[in-house]
């Protein structure tokens, strides 16, 4: 996906700047930068650094930062005087700021006292922090005082072991850039790779330290400055470099002078080191070509938006997105006034979108030099052979066909009732090449002036790219709400690749519908009024039989019990053998209780309570019953 943001044009007038941001997603090619500093961003950075300074530290950031961006402070003499006045020769920090800042101003020398060298050399030891060592070494180097590189290296290595955080190691790297090239910087160089491993990868697009933007920018500066100084390529892969670019330059307004300073240093390091120079390819104006504007303009710059001196731009391939056919291959751009131009219309491309793969050559340091971008070829459309007719449904012969030319309106109006169809045939062609087009939007709009109704249909092309539209009056009456009347007919043609979308009042059509219903206006009004309340219907209880019936049957069902008693009486069953022993009494009482419990269970209790009571009563009954039955058994066997 490629997003093009266009704000202004005209490189000739420096006042109005062109801001074009091109982002390219990960395709088959490598990552390309999604952020860089445009010219207005650089101006904003310079503005922040140019703010008046009140102490040595801010003076240092401003003066040195601006010099990295190729600018300078407003009044250099004033600045130099300020530095001299604010200098405290006893403080390492003060000496560092003043010395470094004065180096950036022409003809500004800081006074060197006798004690200066001793103070600075004393700061170079294992007991000072890395920052102290860095400032001392930088001040010594800027003031032109001699220093022992090997001792510094030893102190740095010792301090790195103790202060194992990102900022400390970055400062150590910066310190190493001030040492003599004969010193053993190999150990410190390895720290670049270790630090790079600590970077956090965000979505494959950003690579930054969790300590923030300033730390990342300072790391980039230190890594490239040290690599240049030691003439060793930094161990950063191309993708990592681009991700670092994205992280450092994604923020366009900076919180503090030191942050702005770090970004300025990183920008300077990335645009002019000996190993990796990220290149930005952007379009000037919209990436659209047409017959009136056949030339595609591209800008090739570094991340500070400075044009690259020795770059050549080449189209590796231009492929139509729709048909996947390659239109252009290995075609070079020509350079004119710092802008690369290519006349794409010379290859006679059909209208549509094209995927360009361009490559920047000419410098072995270039990183991300293969870029993909999408170019639109637009054209103008013409409507030809517009024929309107009213066709009877029974025969297919048009009773009235008339040709209408764009942009005129048909002379008479067309009448169609339910026995007839209204038909429209036309062709859409490219005005420049005569090729047939099928734009995305081809609509036929009927508008009833009186009722405000608007009905839109889509006209579809057949296999020969001839557009046909037929309105079956009877079939479509629901869309028109059966409102007969005069409808104004418009043809609407539109597409992203058309420069002249068409809205053409073609004719007036009188439609007659059968069984005209009540005005449809009311329908739309009631659509948004509150609907009638829905009353909740509770579940209807089931129909019960009349009480008489159920009572009768209850009595009927209980009647066999009487029959049972009678039968038992007749058989001579009696309870004469009932022994009044305690166990049998207890058994019968317990059994009766159990039956009573059943009734209570039915009316009051739940299963758990019932089981509880049943357990108690049941066990008593069981024991009593067991005893009773045993006694009975004994009696029975004895009587045998």
């Amino acid at each position: 996906m490629i997003y093009l943001y266009i704000i202004g044009v005209d490189m000739a007038q420096p006042r109005v700047f062109c801001l074009v941001l091109l982002t390219v997603a990960l395709g088959a090619q490598a990552l390309t930068p999604s952020h860089h500093l445009s010219l207005s961003d650089v101006d904003r950075l310079k503005g922040l650094l140019s703010q008046p300074f009140t102490d040595l530290a801010s003076a240092y950031y401003s003066i040195v930062g601006l010099s990295k961006l190729g600018a300078s402070v407003a009044d250099e003499n004033d600045a130099c005087q300020f530095l001299k006045a604010q200098l405290d020769p006893m403080s390492v920090d003060s000496l560092f700021f003043a010395a470094e800042a004065s180096q950036a101003i022409a003809d500004c020398e800081m006074p060197v006292f006798n004690e200066t060298r001793d103070i600075l050399l004393a700061a170079v030891s294992e007991d000072s922090t890395v920052t102290q060592i860095f400032r001392a070494v930088s001040a010594l180097s800027s003031l032109g005082l001699p220093l022992a590189s090997q001792e510094v290296v030893a102190a740095l290595v010792a301090r790195i072991a103790k202060e194992d955080n990102v900022l400390a190691i970055t400062t150590a790297l910066q310190t190493a850039t001030r040492l003599s090239q004969q010193a053993e910087l190999g150990g410190i160089l390895e720290e670049i790779e270790d630090l790079a491993a600590r970077l956090d990868d965000l979505g494959g697009v950003y690579l930054q330290f969790e300590e923030g933007l300033e730390a990342t920018a300072l790391f980039v500066t230190a890594a490239y400055t040290l690599s240049d100084h030691a003439d060793t390529e930094p161990p950063l892969k191309e993708d990592q470099v681009i991700q670092l670019v994205n992280s450092v330059f994604s923020k366009k307004s900076w919180d503090s002078r030191s942050e702005a300073f770090s970004v300025a240093c990183a920008a300077a390091a990335l645009s002019s080191n000996r190993f990796h120079v990220p290149v930005i390819v952007s379009t000037q104006g919209p990436a659209t070509v047409s017959h009136s504007q056949p030339i595609l303009h591209l800008l090739v710059t570094d991340i500070l938006s400075n044009p690259l001196a020795s770059a050549n731009l080449l189209v590796e391939s231009a492929q139509a997105v729709a048909s996947k056919s390659v239109v252009l291959s290995q075609a070079p751009f020509s350079l004119r006034n710092g802008i690369f131009e290519l006349n794409f219309m010379a290859s006679q491309p059909a209208s549509g979108y094209y995927q360009f793969t361009v490559a920047v050559t000419g410098d072995s340091r270039l990183v991300a030099n293969q870029v993909e971008l999408k170019v639109k070829v637009s054209t103008e459309v013409a409507v030809t052979n517009m024929d309107l007719s009213v066709v009877d449904k029974d025969q297919s012969i048009g009773t009235k066909t008339s040709r209408v030319d764009y942009p005129f309106k048909a002379k008479g109006s067309f009448t169609a009732d339910s026995h007839q169809n209204f038909a429209m045939n036309f062709q859409l062609v490219d005005a420049n090449t005569g090729v047939e087009l099928t734009p995305h939007q081809t609509f036929v709009r009927f508008h009833n002036q009186k009722t405000g109704q608007e009905v839109v249909f889509v006209a579809e092309p057949d296999s020969k790219n001839l557009y046909k539209f037929e309105l079956d009056t009877a079939e479509r009456k629901s869309e028109f709400d059966s409102m007969s009347g005069t409808y104004v007919l418009h043809l609407i043609v539109g597409d992203a690749t058309l420069e002249n979308p068409i809205l053409w009042n073609v004719a007036d059509v009188v439609l007659k519908f059968l069984d005209e219903e009540a005005p449809a206006a009311i329908q739309s009004k009631t659509l948004y009024m509150p609907k009638p309340d829905i009353q909740h219907l509770f579940r209807e209880p089931e129909k019960k039989p009349p009480t008489v019936v159920s009572n009768t049957f209850t009595a009927l069902v209980l009647s066999p019990f009487l029959l049972l008693l009678i039968l038992w009486f007749k058989l001579g069953a009696n309870i004469s053998n009932f022994s009044l022993s305690p166990s049998s009494v207890l058994f019968h009482v317990g059994h009766a209780c159990m039956l009573g419990l059943m009734y209570v269970y039915w009316t009051h209790l739940n299963m758990f309570q019932t089981l509880k009571y049943l357990a108690i009563i049941g066990s008593l009954t069981f024991l009593a019953g067991n005893r009773m039955l045993a006694q009975k058994a004994v009696k029975r066997l004895a009587s045998k």
């Binding site: 089931e542 049957f553 009927l556 069902v557 066999p560 058989l571 069953a573 039915w602 299963m607 019932t610």
Partner: protein
Amino acid sequence: MSNSVISVISRFLEEYTTKTSNKLKVVDAYLFYILLTGALQFLYCLLVGTFPFNSFLAGFILCVGAFILGVCLRIQINPDNKGDFLSISQERAFADFLLAHTVLHLVVINFIG
């Protein structure tokens, strides 16, 4: 044809009244009562409808269950079947009958709603 049926029935009745012991007749009367009760419940269901269905099922299943348990009791206390139930005395059969009935009643009352 009908003659033989009638003669079979009358023979059966005669043998029943003379040969079966009183104890078994008592149980038979009980079984007959259960049968009637169940049949009447079913008749009500057919005539009036199944509302409330769970109550009908509870009552009907109680009748069916009680009938089955009664039949089991009758089989077990029949002296002619003594050979098949050597380990089960008459009292034991009755105790089983009571226990099974307790469980049956518990379930049915739960279901009767």
